[in-house]
């Protein structure tokens, strides 16, 4: 079933020949990367392999030094996070990117607060609260206090909030940088469920993770980076955790 979906559909996002240099450092070198509709792609690799750089290029935080990006077959340039959001690319950052001193709705709508009135400068607080509650319910995310600063939430609750807040924007591609890194077993399970639910809802998900069990739990395809180059691109059904680990560390395959 899944194989058929892949065969019959075009990638929603294609990167071709992407290189990124920071001064003399080659963070990425000639990387091709595809994401298909309703697909969960795991992006794996050692520290410094270029995973975060790659997703930041997709999210408009970095510009590639070389290479092209195609969205639904059309060449696009992503200059800023706003450009990425306009295309339907949402990112959940490793650093969580929450404002600890602000409450849940303010974080939920961070940077794109809805406005009301003719002046267009006043925030529509009621809509913020209503939409926040509705989305969190839909996703089955439980948060104790909506109107308290986010610093009073647990790690898992914060992660759920960080993931949940990208939902209402009709994102077609959701990128998650280490979503389970700082979480306990139970909380990780919830986040993985959330990823699967995003797929059910029609999203594609790119997940960066170091945890092989989590990767094989949710991913449809696994892309391996090493030293800024793509060294593996495998469907989950055609590979094993062993093989992926060998690709990550660069050990001889045979």
């Amino acid at each position: 079933m899944e194989a058929k979906v892949f065969a019959s559909s075009q990638p929603i996002l294609s990167l071709r020949g992407i290189s990124k240099y920071f001064g003399g450092v080659h963070a990425l070198e000639d990387v091709d990367f595809d994401v298909y509709p309703q697909e969960i792609v795991a992006l794996v690799g050692d520290n410094g392999a270029g995973k975060s750089t790659l997703v930041k290029i997709i999210a408009g935080v970095h510009r590639p030094t070389k290479g092209h990006i195609f969205f639904q077959g059309q060449p696009v340039e992503i200059h800023s996070p706003h450009d990425a959001q306009a295309l339907g690319i949402e990112i959940v950052y490793q650093e969580l990117a929450l404002i600890e001193t602000r409450d849940v709705p303010a974080n939920f709508f961070l940077g794109r607060e809805p406005v009301k009135g003719r002046l267009g400068i006043f925030v529509d607080r009621r809509k913020m609260v209503e939409d926040t509650v509705r989305t969190l319910r839909e996703l089955g995310i439980e948060l104790p206090y909506l109107r308290s600063p986010v610093r009073y939430l647990s790690g898992g609750q914060r992660q759920a909030l960080a993931i949940g807040r990208v939902m209402p924007w009709g994102g077609k591609i959701i990128i998650m940088d280490e979503p389970t890194a700082a979480l306990g077993v139970k909380e990780s399970r919830r986040v993985l469920d959330l990823i699967l639910r995003l797929k059910e809802k029609g999203c594609s998900v790119i997940v960066i993770s170091h945890n092989m069990r989590h990767v094989f739990n949710v991913a449809d395809r696994i892309v391996v980076l090493r030293g800024g180059r793509k060294v593996g691109d495998k469907k989950k059904s055609e590979t094993t955790p062993d093989e992926i680990v060998k690709l990550i560390v660069g050990a001889d395959m045979l």
């Binding site: 996070p81 404002i99 961070l110 794109r112 206090y145 600063p149």
Partner: protein, 318 residues
């Protein structure tokens, strides 16, 4: 699934303003009992008038601090606005024109601070430490060190009139507090000020133009320092180059006592208003109770430390 809110007790404990109002109320109650002179209309209005300049400047300062910065040039800006306006008045320009130019210049200094912080990435402390000294130098240089006197009555009216016994500066102060509160709490810009101060990296990741937010915050701080400075000058009837020296610390202290965290991202202008009130009432109390004025700085210092310690403890506990 239900979204429960914290109980009333917890909400009250977490509410900075509530805690501040309790302290302020306690001070008022205590002073009313200890002295016969505190709770008279005359004294109250004098207190109001005396802290209105500091409070107004601290509103602008609050916006900067909530946005993660600090503005040390506020005191110099207060004096400079007075000097510019006074010199223009003596040169025969109209009151309205002179005031507008005075305010425009401090607004410009604020804008310069903002651009130095956002474009050249100077730390706010350094950038405004520099402008604090530069502007003070202009104050001395332009006046040769002499105070500017003999200001027209039509200007001094601003600082000295009462409307139904309420001093005009106090009314202006309340108006500006409402303006700042709406700006910070109801507008998109205000949300972004909190975001930049709370976590600048996160704010930039979601596409908030952090440089623009900071520049606007510093510009407003310059403007509000100018307004406070003009009210001070109008009240004193003289624009001295030494005026408002050291006020930047009072202005910052008002914000800090009012629960505005120096690390940014939280607090409100109402807190700064109450903070300024607490400082002035304390000064007033020491005078009414017969302590020599020389001891005031020690008392203010103790209040600053106490207020911040209470605030930190409160945040940790609940």
């Amino acid at each position: 699934m239900r979204y429960v809110e914290p109980g009333l007790v917890l909400r009250f404990a977490r509410n900075q303003l509530a805690a501040l109002l309790v302290i302020l109320g306690g001070m008022v109650l205590l002073l009313s009992l200890l002295t016969s002179t505190f709770l008279t209309a005359n004294n109250i209005f004098n207190v109001l008038r005396a802290f209105s300049w500091i409070a107004i400047a601290s509103f602008g300062q609050s916006i900067v601090i909530i946005g993660g910065g600090i503005d040390l040039s506020a005191g110099s800006n207060m004096a400079f606005a007075g000097i510019i306006t006074a010199m223009l008045l003596l040169a025969g320009y109209s009151v309205v024109f002179s005031i507008l130019v005075g305010l425009l210049i401090t607004l410009g200094i604020g804008l310069l601070n903002g651009l130095m912080v956002s474009k050249t990435k100077l730390p706010p402390f350094i950038a405004t430490l520099g402008t604090m000294s530069i502007v003070r130098g202009f104050c001395y240089g332009m006046t040769q060190g002499w105070p500017v006197r003999n200001l027209p009555r039509s200007f001094m009216f601003l600082g000295q009139t009462d409307i139904w016994r309420v001093p005009l500066p106090a009314i202006i102060m309340i108006g500006l507090a409402v303006f700042c509160a709406i700006l910070l709490e109801k507008t998109k810009l205000g949300y972004h000020v909190y975001a930049v101060g709370g976590n600048e990296y996160a704010a930039s990741l979601v596409g908030i133009n952090t440089g623009r937010v900071k520049t606007i915050a510093f510009t407003l701080s310059g403007l509000f320092a100018g307004i406070g400075g003009l009210l001070m000058t109008a009240r004193l009837g003289v624009a001295a180059p030494t005026a408002a020296q050291g006020y930047e610390l009072d202005i910052i202290a008002a914000a800090v006592i009012g629960g505005i965290s120096l690390t940014g991202g939280e607090g409100s202008v109402w807190g700064a208003l109450i903070g300024a009130a607490i400082m002035q009432i304390l000064r007033n109390a020491l005078v009414l109770m017969g302590f020599p004025a020389y001891w005031q700085p020690a008392a203010i210092g103790a209040v600053i430390i106490g207020a911040v310690m209470i605030d930190m403890y409160r945040k940790r506990k609940v």
